[in-house]
């Protein structure tokens, strides 16, 4: 049962990365959308795409946390006590991102939209970096079991964490550009689709290069992770690379819906590669923490599985309705000249 819940938790991590990661990436593109006038169409598309779904996408993170502390309490305690600084920064970034996005939609004056837009975009860039840095700290074995046993600074300020932080930002931007390309075409804006296609191609190449260069960082900074990635997890690493190359090719030939699949696969394969490299250790740092050591008792696991089953049965159709409703959406209405943020 512990394995099932671990898989469930890791699926949540993956979905969060693929959906909320792209929402963060879209916010970063908002930052890079250019001056108010010319950038208005891009910002309108971004807002139109993430508006109805970002709150639901965000909940996957809550899931990861509650599943972790219910099913693997020592893991949650160790990670959150040692890495409390980046976790607090992520929480504050989540607050800034979500509220600024909601506020920008609610106000009508340009200078206010600019301030909220800047807060939204900046926090969209910073928050995934710290999330990646947290992952890097865990992956490179800098979080020992126990309460605050790791270094509260170097556990997230280290080569692997910086690499993972950068990759998290880039991957989010890459996914966002890929999703937005298809959204732009669906809503009848071919010129915007072309713009985001170029962005996706460029950021896709950059992400691939950083990931490849990152293997060198991992090799020297996190030898155990390297051993796992180049050993058991090698097929997944290769799959990620292949899916990344395929995505670039599909973008080149303008297969915008198919590229969503391969781009998501490229990102997901990295996450599952990390998981496979580390398994059965949840924490690699000595003395280590395995799944069996961290798992809660049978009654708890059983109750969590039952409630997760009922929850998923309710969730799946609701979620399907939400995405279908807005993926079959109407074209974006042209933005009013004085209000760049209104869709």
């Amino acid at each position: 049962m512990a394995i099932t819940l671990l898989v469930l938790m890791w699926i949540s991590v993956t979905v969060y990365a693929l959906l909320a990661g792209a929402d963060f990436g879209a916010g970063a593109w908002d930052l890079l959308s250019g001056r108010t006038g010319p950038g208005a169409r891009r910002r309108a598309l971004i807002e139109h795409s993430i508006g109805p779904v970002w709150e639901a996408n965000h909940v996957w993170l809550i899931f990861v946390l509650v599943l972790m502390w219910t099913a693997f309490p020592p893991l949650f305690a160790a990670v959150s006590s040692t890495l409390y600084i980046p976790l607090t920064l992520v929480a504050l970034g989540v607050i800034a991102r979500g509220s600024a996005f909601a506020f920008r939609k609610a106000v009508t004056e340009l200078w206010q939209q600019r301030i909220f837009g800047a807060a939204f975009a900046f926090s969209s860039l910073v928050t995934p970096f710290f999330l990646g840095a947290i992952a890097g700290g865990v992956a490179s074995g800098r979080v020992p079991p126990g309460l605050a046993r790791g270094d509260v600074v170097t556990s997230w300020l280290n080569p692997t964490s910086v690499l993972c932080g950068a990759l998290a930002v880039l991957a989010g931007m890459y996914l966002a550009a890929v999703y937005l390309t298809a959204d732009a075409r669906r809503t009848g804006q071919p010129e915007l689709a072309a713009e985001f296609r170029w962005r996706a191609l460029v950021i896709g190449v950059v992400t691939g290069l950083v990931a490849a260069a990152g293997l060198i960082v991992v090799h020297s900074d996190a030898p155990r992770l390297w051993a796992g990635l180049s050993g058991r997890a090698l097929p997944l690493v290769a799959l990620s690379g292949a899916a990344g190359v395929a995505s670039l090719a599909l973008l080149a030939v303008r297969r915008y819906l198919l590229v969503r699949v391969t781009a998501a696969l490229a990102v997901a394969a990295v996450l599952w590669g990390w998981g496979a490299a580390q398994y059965p250790h949840l924490l690699a740092a000595a003395p280590g923490l395995t799944v069996a050591q961290a798992a809660a008792g049978r009654a708890t696991l059983q109750a969590t599985l039952i409630s997760a089953g009922v929850g998923i049965a309710l969730l799946a159709p609701s979620l399907a309705w939400l995405f279908l409703l807005f993926q079959r959406g109407r074209p974006v209405s042209p933005p009013a000249s004085s209000s760049p943020a209104e869709p």
Partner: protein, 468 residues
Amino acid sequence: MAGIAAAKTLTALYLSTGTGGSQTADPVAARSQMGFSLGWHIILACLGVGLPGLVLFAEWRGWRTGDPWYQLLARRWAKALGVLFAVGAVSGTILSFEMGVLWAGLMDHYGSVIGLPFSIEGFAFFIEAIFLGIYLYGWDRLSPRVHLLSGVPIVVAGILSAFFVVTANSWMNSPRGFKIVNGRLTGVDPWAAMFNPATGPETTHMILAAFMVTGFLVASVYAVAMLRGRTDRYHRLGLLIPLTFGVIMTPIQIVVGDWAARYVGSEQPLKLAAMEGLNASGRHVPESIGGYYAGGQLHWALKIPDGLSLLVHLSPNGYVTGLQSAPPDNRPGLITLIHLSFDTMVGIGFALLLLGAWLALAWWRTRTIPPSIWFLRATAVSGIAAVMAMEAGWIVTEVGRQPWIVYGVLRVANAVNPAPGLSWGLVAVVTVYALLTVVTVYVLRRLARNRPVPDAPQESDVTGYKVV
């Protein structure tokens, strides 16, 4: 109680492993940060539980009667709901982080006991967020009937979220569903932990409080507008619907509050003693109102003879436990704060009951809102008052449980994350929240002013008002 033995073994466990009570641990900073962010979020959470019902009611009336005032009210409330829900969702996120960032010791040992309601709450909140997206963004896409129905899960899931998350707090007051044998946690039964003796009174009390906060807070906005001369039908409806909702909940809440106090009296006698500033145990204990606690007794309080004995046991001879019955390091501190918070909560509750009686009387006789300016003034402050009562209630629950984080089982000092520098987190959180408060209030005010309510709404005024 098995809990005391459990606490001793746990303390021993902490000392032997060296993870608890280290010099760097900062329980005061952690408690301040948790109290601050929770106290802030809970106002938004109340609106998240109560407001969807009000919006749906207005939308339903507008649909059935074709009355454009109701339709406009529904749209404008929905727009505010969108902003409030977003801020509530993200300000709730930090609380999940804080469970580990601040209370790593609690989650390390008891995550498996109280994790379940949080997991279920996660699903309920997910449903809420999904349907809120459908409801707000689908306003002009779905048929009126389907749209109205798409709002129902928001109401249900909102109430369920509140229920499940409060069961976790009720477990901290009445820990059940586990055993400690030789310092190890065994026999964990998460269902028994979730449905503990505090669950019934605490969850009911909180959900009703959420309804009251929403009702009086929304009504107070329109009372202020009416005091400024906007007495048209839109503002009268905006006042009457939420106020009626709050007024209906008030007497029920007072009865439930009595149930909650009886629970405290039987399960957490020291908390009741703190609420009453009662030092010595005894019979014929008076009910004390106001005053301050110093040097082991309550000064300047108004005393009603035998009052507390009567309230707790329905008998003037009823025995009530005082603070002295426990060793000093097992007693809560800040008795004056707990006592006055309790009095504030109860006092406001009865004041709101009077306000409701005033409305009911006027409505019964003349079918109008009482024409007195004092009624509007009272309604205008009722929103803030309801929030104060709710916050005071949480102070009673949380400060009254000290020094325990899990009553009789785990001390706050042993639950806190021992990492250095927690107080910087407090500074960052307070700064961000101060800013967030100012901006949220500002944006909500702009929302109302940017699009003034028309004197006689046409259909175009209604459909032209975009919810998102």
